[in-house]
Symmetry: C2
Subunit: 366 residues, 2 copies
């Protein structure tokens, strides 16, 4: 554990959570649980029992630099890595890996999204420690979540044989990563067992991760190592400005996880903590209601809600009264300049609307 550094990629607008999420208020800066703290801060607080604060690194856009610093007072300046433009997870995590590799050739890195929700911190810590053991053996480890229901909104990890050589229990070979399934397939997974939710957590030696990435993206990894070599010097900005824009936008699932699984280098720690990527308002509602169907969730400090035969969620940034009459599974998001009304069933379609607005003069509201 002494060579273990946590990396928090803090990117992604969360456009399905618009108008709560905005360009200047991305999902990781929001409080989606009513806890009073942002998802980013909660992520940080989840990691500090595992590592001291000087071994937590954050990768974020230059535009969010100040917001991140404000949330994370303990973050070392040299552990704040900024992207001049968003380049997806391969570049973000790859740059962190390249910087860590230079600090310590045997550094182990764990990547944990800044905008997921986890309940059960002791179980989380145990899973991470197990994953670090596997990473120390040269494997790329992920943490898979035992499904609580047949979700069609998450990708799955198909587990192979148990790897008791790596840890006494809960570690398996990864057979393959599967995309979001339809309902029948998701139910089948749940009944058969051995399929875990892909929570997008990766734990590996920095060098192992980069070498795996270099198999499919050699130029990218070379560029990342060149940026890392200049990091902290006078040339840092100019090297990044020259190379960063040339990098491909590609998720780490495609450059690392899937290829590693194919060659038997990927293992999965099966975990039982509660996890959600809270991708849309239906997820936020389910999270707040904890399974209570037919009930109404309310998120917002001053929110006043009057409900007559209604269920779903009200997210309020004002102290206006929100009155609902006979609305099932409704989603109402009440902000200063935009009011969104949709249903849990259509919560995913908010992204479509956001995309439409980009092209039609609505950009100032995004």
């Amino acid at each position: 554990m002494s060579r273990f550094t946590c990396v928090i990629p803090a990117g992604g607008a969360g456009s399905r959570l618009w108008p709560l999420s905005r360009a200047n208020a991305p999902k990781f800066l929001l409080d989606l649980t009513g806890s009073g703290t942002s998802l980013l801060r909660t992520t940080w607080d989840r990691l500090t029992p595992l590592v001291p604060s000087e071994r937590i690194m954050v990768v974020t856009g230059v535009a969010h630099r100040d917001s991140v610093m404000k949330q994370l007072g303990e973050l070392d300046a040299e552990n704040l890595v900024t992207e001049s433009e968003p380049k997806d997870s391969s570049a973000a995590i790859g740059l962190a890996a390249a910087i860590l590799e230079l600090r310590d050739p045997d550094a182990i890195l764990g990547s944990f999204a800044a905008d997921h929700v986890i309940r059960g911190s002791v179980l989380f810590q145990r899973a991470v420690r197990t994953a670090v053991q596997a990473a120390d053996q040269g494997y790329i480890a992920t943490i898979g979540i035992h499904p609580g229901f047949p979700s069609t909104g998450f990708g799955y990890i198909a587990c192979g044989k148990a790897r008791s050589d790596l840890a006494p229990f809960d570690v398996y070979d990864v057979t393959e990563f599967v995309e979001k399934p339809d309902e029948a397939t998701a139910s089948d997974y749940l009944q058969r067992g051995g399929y875990l939710w892909n929570a997008g957590m990766f734990i590996a030696k920095a060098s192992v991760l980069l070498d795996q990435m270099a198999e499919s993206e050699p130029e990218m990894v070379a560029a990342l190592r060149e940026i890392a070599a200049a990091w902290g010097t006078d040339q840092a900005a100019s090297v990044r400005e020259r190379l960063w824009p040339t990098l491909p936008k590609v998720a780490i699932d495609y450059t690392v996880a899937e290829p590693a699984a194919q060659v038997g280098k990927m293992v999965c720690v099966a975990a039982h903590f509660e996890w959600d990527d809270v991708g849309d308002f239906a997820s936020v509602a389910n999270l707040l209601l904890r399974g209570r169907k037919g009930d109404l969730a309310v998120l917002g400090d001053g929110a006043q809600v009057l409900s007559d035969n209604s269920s779903g969620i009200v997210v309020s940034e004002s102290d206006r009264l929100v009155a609902l009459v006979g609305m099932d599974d409704v989603v109402v998001v009440d902000t200063a300049d935009v009011l969104l009304v949709t249903s849990k069933q259509h919560a995913q379609d908010v992204k479509t609307l956001v995309n439409r607005m980009k092209g039609h003069g609505g950009k100032h509201l995004l």
Copy 2:
């Protein structure tokens, strides 16, 4: 027509139109058609082609005196009759009748609600003129509307034999008034013909109306005549304060229209103009959409609406963007201090919510 005076009872909060309608912004002061003028002002403008402004009288609550004056600059001060507390239509129209009867024993009065919507002013004028002819013969006339669809939201007038002795066409005896029917009955009425919507318009000699009312409510009519006798004198206020609170709250349908129909004194002018009492937001939507199903109506000056697969109505008092995703027949009413979300199907239930709020500290929002 020279003895004809129009009376506009401007009362009723329109609680099914909350939060647009409020105690200090009752339905008759609202613009529900997007015309830019209040329903009250539109009602006035509909009557001035029939009578000069000095023969239009308004009966309203003392609280609305200033608002009414502001809307109706031409209203004679002596034609503004104020109620110290709401006492329903028998008292309101009865007092107007008693005042007119003293001005001219043969005065004919026509009562037209301040908060209905009518399209087709020439047809309206013709119907009123015909009704005044019948009233001159001693009848109490009402104007019935040919149903455009099997409405379950309006009362109906069952018409008997044609009265060509009173006017060449379109005048019938009233057999009975029937309450809001169920759907099967409403469809049956539409197919059989001879059933008209009761638009609550009554045209009669003031004395005939009061004498009919006195059959069932002799004390009430005596009190109204006593208040009228003092009207315009130093004692006006004190007499009203003494008697008005003692009056029963009863609709003119029960004290005049139904009893008159039973004794053959009630006739109906059948009219073809478009009429709606716009009782709830579903009606407002239907009115604005004029039958276009699956479309979205927008009411509000600065309203900006972005709709993705949605229908219904957005009423906006702000310039916020209202974004709808996948909502069918939704009702969104966006005001400064209250946001209402319901459906056209539940538009009537808004009244229930308003009643609940009265008892639970929400009175300041009503």
